[in-house]
């Protein structure tokens, strides 16, 4: 005898207990601390803060721990928390020129004021598994030099001084916020950049890569990539001036791209821009490539490549949305499936009836 399945609530509770157990794993292994995640998986924390749109290392570390290292899940946790926070307003634009630089490379000039600073990078490591890391190891203190004081203009700023690159004036009026207003198309560059900054690293990487392979080529040069601490300021209405809130680590990439120009405008280089929390050159560079590709129409270039397609890129860049919708397919769909089954059976029956009709018309007539 058939009885209806019940007990969904108990199953969910038990599933949560199993998840907690799996998260903790072998109880003989020490539990990972938020400090350990923050310090030793710092780039994961950076990514979660960036795509989670919330600069808080402790919460990002917690999210990573809670998500068992699933970074998209961690990003989701941080986003869901972020929406509940009260808003006081928007900060003043960051002055990345005044960055306390930890790393800075330019691919366009051999040397420039402030110099090239290699900093902490995987770039020239030989990708050989380092078995000494399998054990606890003593790490020697790195050599350091005092930071050069002062403000170092970016390569784009230096080029702009000579009129060699397009101007990059801030937009007139308020900057948009796609978390407060639904995105509509065509979207202005401020909203596009916000979307890309929150966008999935892998998705942007693939799109940026596709532009290099000819699907919307932009002839990019890495004008400059810099990573370090910048101060965040907030204009306080009651004080009447901008007050510093603290500093955050960011990676900025300014791509210098092939020139544009017209009968009434001298040719000059164009820009692509990337900015992310923490250290993520891959994401900042991919973002700059895609930003530039999305400007194709504005710059009068041929369009049609995926990375140039604003609606395609901006509608699919968000991994929290994407993972939700892809994974929702595991929710029950049996009501709709039943509807499809019903139609399919009917179509098959009609098909076979037609078949039968052609072969044995007499029998069929009796149906």
């Amino acid at each position: 005898m058939y009885v209806a399945v019940k007990g969904g609530e108990r199953a969910i509770d038990n599933a949560h207990k199993l998840l907690a157990d799996a998260r903790r794993g072998d109880r003989d292994v020490p539990e990972v601390s938020l400090d350990q995640i923050d310090n030793q998986l710092a780039l994961a924390v950076d990514r979660v803060m960036s795509e989670g749109s919330l600069y808080d290392r402790e919460l990002a570390s917690l999210a990573i721990k809670q998500a068992r290292g699933d970074l998209i899940e961690a990003i989701f946790l941080l986003r869901a928390y972020r929406t509940t926070l009260p808003r006081f307003g928007a900060s003043e634009p960051l002055d990345t020129g005044a960055m306390d630089i930890r790393r800075r490379v330019s691919a366009t000039f051999k040397d420039l004021p402030g110099g090239q600073v290699l900093g902490p990078t995987f770039d020239y490591t030989h990708r050989l598994l380092d078995h000494t890391l399998a054990e606890q190891s003593d790490v020697e203190e790195p050599a350091t030099a005092p930071a050069e004081a002062g403000r170092f203009k970016s390569v784009a700023e230096l080029l702009a001084g000579g009129g060699l690159i397009e101007d990059d004036d801030p937009p007139a009026g308020d900057v948009g916020d796609l978390t407060r207003e639904p995105l509509s198309f065509p979207a202005k560059r401020d909203l596009r950049l916000q979307n890309l900054a929150r966008g999935d690293e892998g998705f942007l990487l693939a799109l940026g890569y596709s532009t290099q392979r000819g699907f919307g080529r932009t002839h990019p040069f890495a004008g400059e990539i810099r990573y370090g601490e910048v101060e965040v300021e907030f204009f306080a209405e009651d004080a009447g001036f901008a007050v510093p809130l603290g500093s955050i680590a960011v990676t900025e990439c300014q791509m210098v791209n092939q020139f544009t120009g017209s009968a009434n405008r001298a040719p000059c280089f164009t820009r692509g821009y990337g900015l992310v929390f923490g250290q993520s050159e891959r994401k900042a560079m991919a973002m700059a490539l895609v930003d530039r590709a999305l400007r194709a129409r504005e710059l009068g270039e041929e369009t049609g490549a995926p990375a140039q397609d604003e609606e395609f890129v901006l509608s699919h860049s968000d991994n929290v949305q994407a993972t939700g919708f892809v994974e929702h397919l595991k929710l029950p769909h049996y009501v709709d499936f039943q509807s499809e089954l019903g139609l399919l059976r009917k179509l098959q029956a009609e098909f076979h009836a037609r078949d039968a009709h052609t072969e044995t018309p007499i029998q069929d007539a009796a149906e």
Binding site: V3, V5, A11, F76, G324, V335, D336, Q338
Partner: protein
């Protein structure tokens, strides 16, 4: 890190105001998809975040909430959403269709006719009925503006040419109040007739796609069709094994490895009511009223 304190029904008041304004516009323009600044909810996109945001924005302390998925109160996602509101709003919940003031649903309309005192909130994955014919929002928005729905008719007619029938069996497009073509969410087309002239207000929320739309009460909703191929609601050639209903939407259950199958009502409350009223199907004798616990291994 202190534990966060959330507002009544989770959403902050500013967000609720924004959603409420969108709901009012949606009601005033039946079938039109109002863009809204959908928030990130503590459940995944695609799992009912649009419906949850609407429910959270309309729900009050005197409401009685029912949540169903596939017609059933006990499917895991329905359980999860119901729990969310119990936790964040402390509202009373029910599985009885006739007791509920707000019903949030995924993929079904209850069998029992709704009343003027009820609001039905649908979870919507893709609100744009033209999306699968034209992926660009800029294009579909223009088509709605001009009431240019030829593409949809072409698609349905191509089905007829190929299969002899319109091959859309769920999320079957409708025209609301003689103006907008609308996606009724992935309900089976069996439920389409219930959309029209319902005494209840029907609200649709798509969180990921950031759209809210509505069918006011007593609004004519027409399933798209052709004179020579009128809309046919889906019919089962079976009855519910438990309650014997001949006119309800049925779930198919596979009962053994040989593919034997049987049918039971998808609307569990409807089925239970019928059995309580003494109706029974081939396997639904009085002794069958007991239920079994789902495997508790999660």
């Amino acid at each position: 890190m202190s534990a966060p304190v959330y507002n009544f029904a989770y959403l902050d008041e500013q967000t609720k105001r924004m959603i409420r304004r969108a709901i009012l516009k949606a009601i005033a323009i039946p079938g039109y998809q109002v863009p809204f600044a959908s928030r990130e909810m503590p459940m995944p996109y695609g799992w009912g975040t649009g419906g949850v945001q609407i429910t959270a924005s309309i729900l009050g302390p005197d409401d009685k909430l029912k949540v169903i998925d596939q017609g059933s109160d006990d499917t895991t996602n329905a359980v999860s959403i119901r729990k969310f509101f119990v936790k964040t709003a402390g509202v009373e919940t029910t599985t009885k269709t006739n007791e509920a003031t707000v019903i949030q649903t995924r993929h079904r309309i209850p069998e029992q006719a709704l009343t003027e005192d009820q609001v039905l909130v649908y979870q919507v994955p893709i609100p744009e009925p033209l999306r699968f014919l034209e992926p660009r929002e800029t294009e579909t928005r223009r088509m709605h503006a001009l009431s240019e729905y030829g593409l949809m008719h072409v698609k349905l007619y191509e089905d007829i040419a190929r299969h002899g029938h319109i091959a859309t069996t769920y999320a079957y497009p409708v025209e609301v109040g003689g103006r907008y073509v609308m996606d009724p969410s992935p309900i089976p087309k069996f439920d389409n007739p219930k959309l029209s002239d319902s005494p209840a207000l029907q609200l649709f929320g798509a969180g990921r796609e950031k759209r809210i739309y509505a069918i006011p009460p007593y609004t004519h909703v027409k399933s798209l069709d052709f004179e020579d191929h009128p809309f046919e609601p889906y019919r089962h050639d079976a009855q519910c094994e438990l309650c014997g209903a001949m006119n309800s939407y049925l779930d198919e259950v596979i009962t053994d490895d040989a593919g034997s199958r049987m049918f039971v009502c998808s609307d569990t409350d409807f089925c239970e009511d019928r059995r309580a009223a003494g109706h029974h199907g081939p396997q639904g004798g009085p002794a069958a009223a007991a239920t079994k616990e789902e495997s508790a291994h999660g």
